[in-house]
Symmetry: C2
Subunit: 204 residues, 2 copies
DNA sequence: CCGAAGTTTCAAGAATTTCTGAAAACAATA
DNA sequence: TATTGTTTTCAGAAATTCTTGAAACTTCGG
């Protein structure tokens, strides 16, 4: 590996973290390299800089494409594929969250939806199903919110994030406004906290 | 494995998903079982129900304790350790997010903070560092927001989530209010979108 | 202090994932 | 269609992670 020290430490870190992020070392390092690179790189550039085998790099790039995390582009007069990451970090975050949701949450939501249709055959199954329904409703609430937020323009999103703790004050303000006769929107079973959940948080 | 079908399919699913969630099959299945169980279980109960070796269960439980995802308790007159998951799903979500942040984000934030102190030695390093600063500021903004939200009472949190898309309207309302002379709070370098990021989101 | 009941550690084998080099497939050009 | 440069596939080697049974360790009541 032949990289400026600053770049190298970042690349190595991403390699290490890869396993925690659900990608492997190679993929993590390739991504880090592309992220920092001022111009697009082709597979052979990556082989040179990281010292992985050509095929390993090829598979890694394919995986990154599967995640929509890299952009494929061409340079006029050059037949090779060049890759880069979007300049806009917000775009990267949006993609990342979307893809993780797809892989880590959606399958579980489907499973829960299906399982909740089965008729329970015992008290134990009835309890299990109640628990699953709670989980389903919670996840549905979270993903519904996520989808709404994903639609916001970046500027609004930044505004929302910058608001931080002060969001509480805004919610209180809204409370007061909504004491007028209520029109309520999308909320479903998840409208209130789950039945047997005490509103106080308990310490672990 | 000797479980009611409904429970079994849930347990198997969690086992499968385990690898995507950064835990392994054993740990995923143990957690699923505890999550659905009406009463606390001891290690031997788990061995019976899932058919893993005793030591494997022991390691799995230890890992779950490391994640703060299970609660250890005792039954009077019984020396064995019994385990359960919190009844309050919101508590579970809070713990889960907290622990993932600790493992998946905090180390990177530290690395970035340190790396940003190094003096760049070339144009390439200067560019890399600018990119890292962007990333650092973005993550700092997100985690700052997260910390604020984590402090909200569950009731407020549900309210915020239920708000969903209508948050936009609230933000606009706030805009109008804030046209009055401004008092601004915590926001730092991340106050505006990153320098060279166009506010329009580009499609991948 | 002893023995019983329980938990954890450890080394080795099993299973899975990652990585490689060689060969096959592909695509553009002449 | 043949040539050339490039990407992808694939089978096995290497590395890592998971799982187990046995032994070591802890804790508690007598």
């Amino acid at each position: 590996m032949n990289l400026p020290p600053l770049v190298q430490s970042f690349v190595l870190h991403f390699g290490e973290m890869g396993s925690r992020w659900g990608i492997n070392r190679t993929v993590g390092q390739i991504y880090a390299l592309l992220f920092l690179s001022p111009e697009p790189l082709c597979a052979d550039d990556i082989v040179d800089k990281l010292g992985f085998s050509r095929s390993n790099v090829s598979i890694g790039l394919k995986e990154l494409q599967g995640w929509n995390l890299v952009r494929l582009q061409h340079i006029p007069g050059d037949r090779r594929d060049y890759f880069s990451t979007p300049d806009d970090l917000w775009q990267i975050v949006r993609t990342l969250v979307e893809e993780r949701k797809k892989r880590e949450i959606d399958p579980t939501l489907s499973m829960l939806r299906e399982t909740l249709l089965v008729e329970p055959g015992s008290a134990e199954e009835r309890h299990a199903q109640a628990r699953m329904r709670e989980l389903h409703d919670l996840i549905a609430l979270l993903t519904g919110w996520y989808e709404d937020v994903q639609k916001l323009e970046t500027e609004r999103l930044v505004q929302l994030l910058t608001l931080g703790a002060r969001v509480q004050r805004i919610l209180e303000m809204k409370d007061r406004l909504t004491l007028l006769p209520g029109r309520r929107g999308r909320a479903s079973a998840a409208d209130a906290p789950p039945k047997d959940a005490p509103p106080k948080a308990e310490e672990a």
